[in-house]
């Protein structure tokens, strides 16, 4: 398997893994699907993290404030409402109820052949990505912000925080430098371990918006008993999970000087 994988990557003309369904090399198809998945699922992960971190920090710092309550509510919604529901809900609102010529109208079906060449096509790309990215970002943000909040709360009560304040440091430095850096360690693990899922694609969301990426590829391969395709994809995911575990471990060292791997 490994030989075959390296063979497909480097040696042109060598033995290739052929998909049962399409009778074509598996890696050609994966390479074709990768951009959609990275654009949509990857972007939603970045957006999700960017939303989650500030919400988590502020929620913890101002525990039980209105902001915290609202943040908790939204993350509970994001956490408990499945993406196939939010996805269809958004389609009904933005594709069906909003008139076609309105600027708020968004396409319900993702055009994978679209190429970004100029400002207009970039705007179109943003529009067609808006709904799937939002749906997935809500889900990701809900998860990460809860971790961030819990971790911040743990650290805010620690002795070193009191010491830092006693030294006369500003709240900004105390929270953003001392507490945040310490609280990030468990959160980084969660974020890093979530990255392989980006490559796995969001199977359900990809189906709802017809973003034919890796997730859709995996599900059709399973339905079609396309064993070479399923094996290749799952093997790739396995490698990615191991790889990002390693990256998370290395990042600990960067964030916390006490952790050293000699």
């Amino acid at each position: 398997m490994i030989d075959a994988m390296f063979g497909t990557n480097f040696a042109d003309g060598a033995q290739r893994i052929i998909s049962f369904q399409s009778r074509s090399p598996v890696f050609d198809i994966i390479a074709e699907r990768m951009p959609q998945t990275l654009w949509v699922v990857g972007m939603s992960y970045v957006v999700g993290v960017l939303i989650a971190l500030p919400i988590g920090i502020i929620s913890a710092y101002k525990q039980y404030s209105i902001f915290d309550q609202i943040g908790t509510l939204i993350s509970m919604i994001g956490f408990s409402v499945p993406t196939f529901f939010t996805g269809v809900l958004l389609i009904v609102i933005f594709s069906t109820m909003v008139p076609l010529d309105s600027i708020f109208w968004l396409p319900s079906i993702y055009d994978t052949t679209h190429e970004v060449t100029d400002w207009e096509s970039f705007k179109f790309q943003m529009r067609q990505m808006a709904m799937p990215v939002f749906v997935l970002a809500l889900f990701n943000a809900a998860q990460i912000s809860r971790y961030m909040r819990a971790s911040m709360l743990d650290n805010l009560g620690q002795d070193y925080v009191r010491t830092a304040r006693a030294k006369g440091m500003t709240e900004k430095i105390v929270v953003l430098k001392h507490v945040l850096r310490n609280s990030m360690i468990p959160v980084i693990t969660v974020i890093a371990l979530g990255v392989p899922q980006v490559f796995g694609g969001a199977i359900i969301t990809e189906q709802v918006f017809k973003v034919n990426g890796l997730g859709q590829l995996l599900i059709t391969a399973i339905q079609g008993s396309d064993i070479p395709m399923v094996m290749t994809l799952t093997f790739m995911f396995a490698i990615l999970i191991v790889l990002f575990n390693l990256i998370a471990d290395v990042l600990y060292g960067v964030l916390d000087p006490r952790i050293r791997y000699d």
């Binding site: 052929i18 998909s19 369904q21 399409s22 009778r23 074509s24 079906i109 052949t113 017809k210």
Partner: protein
């Protein structure tokens, strides 16, 4: 109300499409821009010889074409051939063992090279090559050789008399491929020709510009297409994936796509979408008929095994044609369609409701008539003597029957309704449903299979492959009855036996002329349905697709690819 509105809309659009076709379809090639098609099953390959998936066959129909296709009524029409060969025009030999096709003059592939009889012969070699695993091998069954007569003429020889010689090179499943392109792809090497399988060179209205496995196929108009004014569309985007609901929404509600295939949805869901106003559903009907089969033998558990449900024990009252006729006309088929299938069904009294040439003009059962049903039973002497609401035979046996079918929500609704109607004519019905895996499983040891038929009546749907019902009608010959010495296998599950039927069917097997075949087929159909009611047909189940209101030229076809006439599709200016 909404279903009615939707139905009327569909009828209106069906009537409107050919009109628009007549006045608005002339013009230069590519005048109507982009056509967007969505199939909720994505296309995996564009070579129908390597895939039996409908989605793959339909997508390849844009590019590669057969010698002839079937139109929406199931009649053969020439595509690459000059005409459909028949016995009358000399194309089919008198002994029905060979068929000779003539290609149109001046045909070219999309790369500009001429189409010759060698390409036709090569297509046969390609599909029958050793180790190729051709998905359409059944199309070439019985073909002993394909001989080139000259550049444009080719003869297909069969191993015996073949009254239906329109299997090879007819229909979307066996199009002609280019010999030059596939020359190195014979046998085990077939799957390796990825480029050819993803972008075959064809004679059809479009050529492949981009193929993404299980996602999108992009097509552009074929500059060498044989009709100068076609296709009307310059490009086609063929998107796959998602589900039927989303595809229907994209066509009928948001208008993002022009055509969606196979709307397998509940009738009220389709009607709701059609209210979106951008698109409409369109239906077409084949020969898939939901029917009640009547057991002419006695399934009573009091009888010994081996006698029960065999010709040795005739049924006490279902052998009486009057009872069967009363049961048939007591059913309101319109209501069944409305509840169970909506757009995707229509009432029928025929076992073979299509293709048109085989369909009998048999409409007597369409109107429910409880009074006449009661009168029929009265006349035949079945009276309710003890006042319990159930009629009895002269010897006191009540008209009480067991009605079985497979487990399926629509079928159980049908059972409940029909039980009610039969109770109104004094027939008591006990209902039973059996898991489909067991019911259709064919296990000779199981008492619950549809062949074993340990019930008085049973309901299921069945259809024949292709456009010729010969073998389907052949199922009702005397010797096809399931019985212990055939391990309960056989298709004549009614245990119907009529020497006149057997004789007429024999005549069908030796008749080559299509019109004559149609006449005999319809007569056989009538013997089973109208004349004897041994089979009580209920619903002709069809297929529903959806198209944008601005798209014209669509003629939904169940006998060939749905996209069979895509060259003529065009925009209707609103």
């Amino acid at each position: 109300m909404t279903i009615k509105t939707a139905l009327m809309g569909a009828v209106a659009s069906l009537a409107f499409a050919p009109m628009a076709f007549a006045d608005g379809h002339e013009g230069e090639r590519g005048r109507d821009g982009e056509l967007r098609i969505i199939y909720w099953q994505a296309v995996s390959i564009l070579n129908p010889y390597l895939s039996s998936g409908t989605k793959d066959i339909d997508a390849s129909a844009l590019v590669i074409e057969p010698l002839g296709r079937y139109d929406s009524s199931g009649n053969p029409v020439p595509y690459l051939a000059t005409e459909i060969p028949t016995v009358a025009n000399g194309g089919v030999s008198e002994d029905l063992t060979s068929i000779t096709w003539t290609l149109q003059e001046g045909l070219v592939w999309s790369d500009g090279t001429p189409v010759t009889s060698r390409d036709v012969q090569f297509t046969w070699e390609y599909c029958t090559a050793e180790g190729g695993g051709c998905a359409q091998a059944a199309k070439f069954e019985g073909v002993t050789s394909v001989d080139i007569v000259d550049d444009l003429t080719v003869t297909v020889n069969f191993d015996g008399p073949t009254p239906n010689p329109y299997q090879p090179f007819m229909g979307g499943q066996s199009p002609i491929i280019q010999a030059a392109q596939f020359a190195d792809c014979l046998g085990p090497r077939a799957p390796e020709c990825t480029d050819a399988n993803f972008a075959p060179i064809g004679t059809g209205p479009f050529v492949v510009t981009d193929f993404r496995v299980n996602d999108v196929v992009s097509f552009a108009a074929n500059e060498n297409y044989r009709v100068a004014s076609q296709p009307a569309f310059a490009t086609v985007v063929f998107k796959g994936g998602g589900d039927a609901t989303a595809a229907g929404r994209a066509v009928m509600e948001t208008g993002e796509f022009d055509y969606a295939w196979n709307m397998q949805l509940a009738p009220d869901v389709i009607a709701g979408m059609a209210e979106g106003g951008v698109g409409s559903p369109v239906s077409a009907f084949g020969a898939l008929v939901e029917r009640i089969e009547v057991n002419l033998t006695d399934p009573s558990p009091d009888l010994d095994e081996g006698i029960r449900s065999t010709a040795e024990a005739p049924h006490p009252f279902l052998t009486d044609p009057a009872v069967r006729e009363a049961m048939s006309i007591a059913i309101d088929r319109e209501l069944l369609v409305e509840i169970g299938y909506g757009q995707a069904g229509r009432p029928t009294c025929n076992l073979v409701p299509a293709p048109a040439i085989y369909a009998s003009d048999n409409t007597g059962c369409l109107t429910q008539d409880i009074d006449r049903a009661n009168a029929l039973l009265d006349e035949a002497g079945y009276m309710d003597t003890d006042g319990d609401g159930v009629r009895e035979m002269a010897d006191g046996t009540p008209l009480s029957i067991l009605y079985q079918t497979s487990t399926n929500a629509v079928r159980q609704d049908f059972q409940a309704l029909i039980k009610e109607w039969w109770s109104e004519i004094g027939i008591e019905t006990e209902l039973r449903n059996i898991d489909a895996g067991v019911f259709f499983g064919g296990d000779p040891g199981s008492p619950d299979t549809f062949q074993r038929f340990y019930a008085d009546v049973e309901m299921y749907a069945n259809v024949f492959d292709g456009t010729d019902p010969q073998s389907y009608l052949g199922a009702y010959l005397c010797d096809k009855a399931p019985r212990p010495d055939t391990q309960w296998q056989g298709e004549n599950i009614n245990r119907f036996c009529d020497p006149a039927y057997d004789a007429l069917w024999q005549e069908l097997t030796s008749t080559g002329d299509l019109d004559e075949r149609g006449r005999i087929g319809a007569a056989l159909n009538d013997m089973l349905t109208k004349d004897s009611n041994v089979i009580i047909p209920l619903v002709d189940r069809g297929r529903v697709s959806a198209h944008a209101n601005s798209l014209g030229g669509i003629e939904l076809n169940v006998w060939d690819s749905e996209l069979w006439n895509i060259a003529g599709w065009h925009r209707i200016s609103e």
